[in-house]
Amino acid sequence: MARFCMDFEKPVVELEDKLEQLKSLKAAGTGEIAHDIAELENQLERLKELIYKDLTAWQRVQIARHPQRPRVLDYINHIFSDFTELHGDRLYHDDPAIVGGLAHLEGDTFVVIGTQKGKNAKTNIKRNFGMPMPEGYRKALRLMKIAKKFNLPIITFIDTQGAYPGIGAEERGQAVAIAENLQFMSRLAVPIIAVNVGEGGSGGALAISVADRLIMLENSYYSVITPEGCASILWHDETKACDAAEALKITAEDLAKMKIADIIVKEPLGGAHRDVEKTYYILRKKLIDCYKELKTTCPNKKKLIEDREKKLNSIGRLTSV
């Protein structure tokens, strides 16, 4: 399969291809060729370090959008067991851009909710490119009500450019669907952990991310507006997206400084898609640890709600006249 290559990583991909060619030669295991392979592998490691070590915000956005990056259902299926998907908002429709259901993790039952992108043209059309309709948010709300009734913790996965911008979405109340989730999640007395695994696109991402702990994968981003949208409004030039990405402070590291992100999960060098098994393993472990820590810190509902309120209220910068 042809690999998708981002501009800034071209040298890495070219070298990897060369190495593959060399390895496929019949005499690869012998003499000079073996020596060349070892030499190239060395070079490759150094090059990867160099290119992937200090990524700019815009480069991380590109990794977060990488077409081969694992999707939310991949994470759910590899991290949880017995995932049982539940469908529909009981009002209008089942939105394929939001998935959710019940699952086990280390013996505990969780309500799991996430946004789902496709992996190719066909599945992306089915999933509406991971951009939910109001029905999707209402399905999420329905599942959160199940969590409330049965006192189940919630884990949400976020990977969306944002809520779908369309006529039907507006007619059916995209804004109020998001607002209702924000209100419900902010006052729901069960532990909530949100994981941003890729794109955190504005209100459409926030609608399932109000949580006690926000985990961000190292190359995920979370922004009030897409860098392109911001560039077009504030720079009057969409090609300034790279400057906007920098200015908006959207990386996991920036958001940890602002106390918006709580935990950053390291990805394999070059991004989650370069070693998916390792990514699932690391994230699974982090989720288990995070849930344990949350239960210890907030042993009862009262403390949970108090802490969540404090957390949300503390976000923002004010000065006085």
């Binding site: 779908y164 369309g166 609608a207 602002m258 004010l318």
Partner: protein, 277 residues
């Protein structure tokens, strides 16, 4: 410019009357007497179009004379991201302050409507598009706590383009903060009425004002989540006439009623009466 043209212009302006006394309605294009427009709370006396109304005037419109006491007026935005685009955020804040004589895009406080005590928050569109950053979010949250402590009905008037980009994610998180704040209003069984003026869009629409018990919209106000341009570019077709107007939202069940400025105080007062206030 040549001599005759100049004299002609002077001649013309003699007929038109001194500047500043007259203004043109953006909707019907008719010439209106400026003072009449102000007396009419910026509603065109010819066609009823609702022009921009400063937050201060909205307070006058809704509350009993001299009953308003502002709270948290000293809060001001910093520049947490040190944000610079084609214009710096610091400069935008400064200009907005000059243009509106306000510290931020919202005024909060308490006052009376027909003698009934209420907590009122009013946004001003001229302050960076009425956008919600840290301070707007904080003032809404504090106003809600204030209403809860004093057991007052919570009333908001919105005129906002959405979340303030220049404060990045800190702005987005204010949607969660304000939604939580009004969640507590509901838990305390206090009335919550929101008035959506032109425009109420984006991240502001998708948070506190949409969670009210009763939503009142101003005639023809633009109310929607995503900007029309973005939708058109995504779906690659023209949007229907009247899309995202107050009337469109009423038809689709997203607002309770549409009320002109002249009717708003009476309607809010009556609704509060129904709710036992």
């Amino acid at each position: 410019m040549s001599e005759p043209a100049l004299s002609k212009k002077v001649e013309k302006s003699k007929v038109v009357v001194p500047e500043g006394l007259w203004t043109k309605c953006v909707s019907c294009r008719q010439i209106i007497y400026e003072k009449e427009l102000i007396r009419n709370y910026q509603v065109c006396p010819k066609c009823g179009h609702h022009h921009y109304l400063p937050a201060i005037s909205r307070i006058e419109l809704l509350l009993d004379d001299a009953s308003f006491k502002e709270i948290n007026s000293d809060l001001k935005s910093g520049d947490p991201l040190n944000f610079k685009a084609s214009k710096s955020y610091k400069m935008s804040l400064k200009e907005a302050g000059f243009a509106t004589a306000l510290n931020e895009a919202i005024i909060t406080g308490e006052g009376k409507i027909d003698g009934k005590k209420v907590c009122l928050s009013v946004m001003d569109f001229k302050f960076i598009g009425g956008s919600m950053g840290s301070v707007v979010g904080e003032k809404v949250a504090r106003a809600a706590d204030f209403a809860i402590n004093k057991k007052l009905p919570f009333i908001v008037v919105c005129a906002s383009g959405g979340a303030r980009m220049q404060e990045g994610m800190l702005s987005l998180m204010q949607m969660a903060k304000t939604s939580m704040a009004v969640g507590k209003i509901h838990e305390n069984k206090l009335p919550f009425i929101s008035i959506m003026a032109h425009p109420t869009t984006g991240g502001v629409l998708a948070s506190f004002p949409s969670l009210a018990d009763i939503i009142i919209a101003e005639p023809k106000a633009l109310i929607g989540f995503t900007g029309a341009r973005v939708i058109e570019r995504t779906i690659k077709e023209r949007l229907p006439d009247g899309f995202q107007t107050a009337e469109f939202l009423l038809k689709h069940g997203m607002v309770d009623l549409i009320a002109s400025r002249a009717e708003q105080k009476e309607i809010v007062s009556q609704l509060l009466g129904f709710m036992g206030y």
